[in-house]
Symmetry: C2
Amino acid sequence: MRAVDLIMKKRDGKELSRQEIDFLIQGYVREEIPDYQVSSFAMAVFFNGMSFKETGYLTRAMIDSGDVIDLSKLNGALVDKHSTGGVGDKVSLILAPLAAACGLMVPMMSGRALGHTGGTLDKLESIPGYRTDLSVDSFIMGLEKVGFAMTGQSEKVVPADRKMYVLRDVTATVESIPLITASIMSKKFAEGAEAFVFDVKCGTGAFMKSIEDAETLAVSLVNTGKSLDRRISAVISDMNQPLGLTVGNFLEVREAIECLNGRGPKDLMDLTLRLTGHMLLLSGIACNIGSAEELCRVKIEDGSAWQKFLDNVELQGGDPEIVLNPEKGPKAGRVVSLSAREEGYVERVDAYLVGLAAGLLGSSRARKEDPVLPEVGVELVKIQGDSVKFGDELCLIHGRDPDKIREAEKLLNKAYKLSDEKILPSKRVMKEIVNQ
Amino acid sequence: MRAVDLIMKKRDGKELSRQEIDFLIQGYVREEIPDYQVSSFAMAVFFNGMSFKETGYLTRAMIDSGDVIDLSKLNGALVDKHSTGGVGDKVSLILAPLAAACGLMVPMMSGRALGHTGGTLDKLESIPGYRTDLSVDSFIMGLEKVGFAMTGQSEKVVPADRKMYVLRDVTATVESIPLITASIMSKKFAEGAEAFVFDVKCGTGAFMKSIEDAETLAVSLVNTGKSLDRRISAVISDMNQPLGLTVGNFLEVREAIECLNGRGPKDLMDLTLRLTGHMLLLSGIACNIGSAEELCRVKIEDGSAWQKFLDNVELQGGDPEIVLNPEKGPKAGRVVSLSAREEGYVERVDAYLVGLAAGLLGSSRARKEDPVLPEVGVELVKIQGDSVKFGDELCLIHGRDPDKIREAEKLLNKAYKLSDEKILPSKRVMKEIVNQ
């Protein structure tokens, strides 16, 4: 077998076999196949796509390129959720303890903040003492004791994805649905979960800008999962506005705590319950989405989800005192209020611009090596649909550096768009794709 | 400027500017842009193509990557011909002295035999003593003294093409019309000619199998030339059957000598006169193709083309004795005759199979490093349209190794296809595309 013939086959629109895809990926990881062949292959995939079967082979080959975390000895339904990334997306912080309280085991491996998007690891680490660099043993112990655990990805898991992602980033081959699918799925399956719910974000603050693109990815995820005999559901959710009221690491932890205590904003709670509900459906704990969401509500009202959160914080080294009294947590040195300079109804609060503003203040990083600040971010006071009078507070800017606060102010002024007419807030859940 | 943005631009179907293409090519040659970016760029070009303007920029950037042979001080119309490669194509050996006899200057840089195709340099070197590794000064002296000179390409000319070709070969990006166009054109213009006639071969023995593909390439060559203000004509010629009666290095030299003495086979002479005629049109020496071909015929009949050939052989170190008495030249140790095992008319003699047979006997090489044999090859006795009786001699196999002769025999048996019905030989010139 020669790599050049496989590139040609894909270039000419033919389907590759499992052996052929294995040959490419294992050869690449072993450095027998050079970058320049994989990049032209990736470009051919960009143009000609891959069938779900091929995408499944690719996912499998990537999983096989490294270690797989074996959770089979755990006695529980292992289900996880993955979001394609957004602004103000603290769902994982609420969903993981909630799903654990409902009886699932959630082995969650998360990423870091980059650009205008946040990262679950950075949010958790804003809790003083909280550690996300768990060993496999601690990860398994966390799952056994609490029902969920939160960690970063090991370097040994899916090395093929790491290698390919760096290459795709510099060869204009990131935006390929089968390559995105295999990248997401391989990482998720290598972490040991059996079933998944994907939250495919769609809108200005998301990777996928249009509903068509988001749906293509969602369908690819679900059907590729099917080709691998894995149960997968996907929810497409609106990311034109930030999710909930806060964007920034500890600000979002505080909001997650509110949610777990039954005081969360509607849009965030609705989406979290829907995603957790799908996890319960996949595991068979619930048999329709209505009863699944009802079970979630009960587990919040009776405090058991909140207790799971506390147990996890304690186990992963976070300061329980801060979680119980978030006002004692990281606090910004400067809080500046942005006031309305006109009247009307909030037509939109652009997620991308809010994400940029929060990132600029220090909640995210421009390059992977940069540090993040725990206390900074944006707190929305007015959101889509709210009526606004002249001088009303639109949002609060939590910052450290006055220059950056001024820059963030400009972005946030642009992010808010008012309308003379009444506006109905849009629904978060746009579409659901369920593996039948 | 970043290479990744330019790859993305081409991937998304946009046109690149001259600066952008220069940035890519010069960066690549200086090793600032890595192979993996150029290979994904080449694959994007494979899918999205390039405008003639872009192909012109690419050609220009490739020329600028290395030395250009400056022939501007020569006092003459510098016109060359380039063929895309075929079987039995000894046109250059006849055309160059003929064009010189008509008053042109032909600075010819040729290639070597590879696979089933022959190479002008290998043919010339089958003349004992003939040298094709001329210095630039000797090349210029040859042009001044004889009106034409034959040499190989210097390593310093168009290094970008050399580098890109090696990469394209292993990344399935060879078959791209704009990349092929820029590769051919940059090499040709760097050698110092002002105008060109391209012989685009089409058929089983050629790189382009279909007339559509051949025409696409021919149109691309002519229009890209136009975008660079260069006069270019293209002739699409049939390469389903070998050209003339011989395939093999010294066998072809002998046939070229016959042609220059007015005894050449019709198909070969027709094509040679047409191509030389177009060179005369481009230079303004003739003003219509009829008078151009007529001038060529005169220069063969009066012996002046033949004299140019002799002058060149002497100047480039070849043994004039051998050229004047080709029967004293390299001769195969074994000559085996292939006889007809049925009756009828020759429907076709497959160029690809004859090329393979001759290559196998030693007239071409499988890898660039292999040597070639001067004396071996195939001599056709019966060609398309000829009537054949049982036992008639179809062709002669000139070889060295009996095993290889047996293998060649099998290929040649397959190459000959007879028909019960009378067959008219096809015309060599299929289409002409002239820069207006």
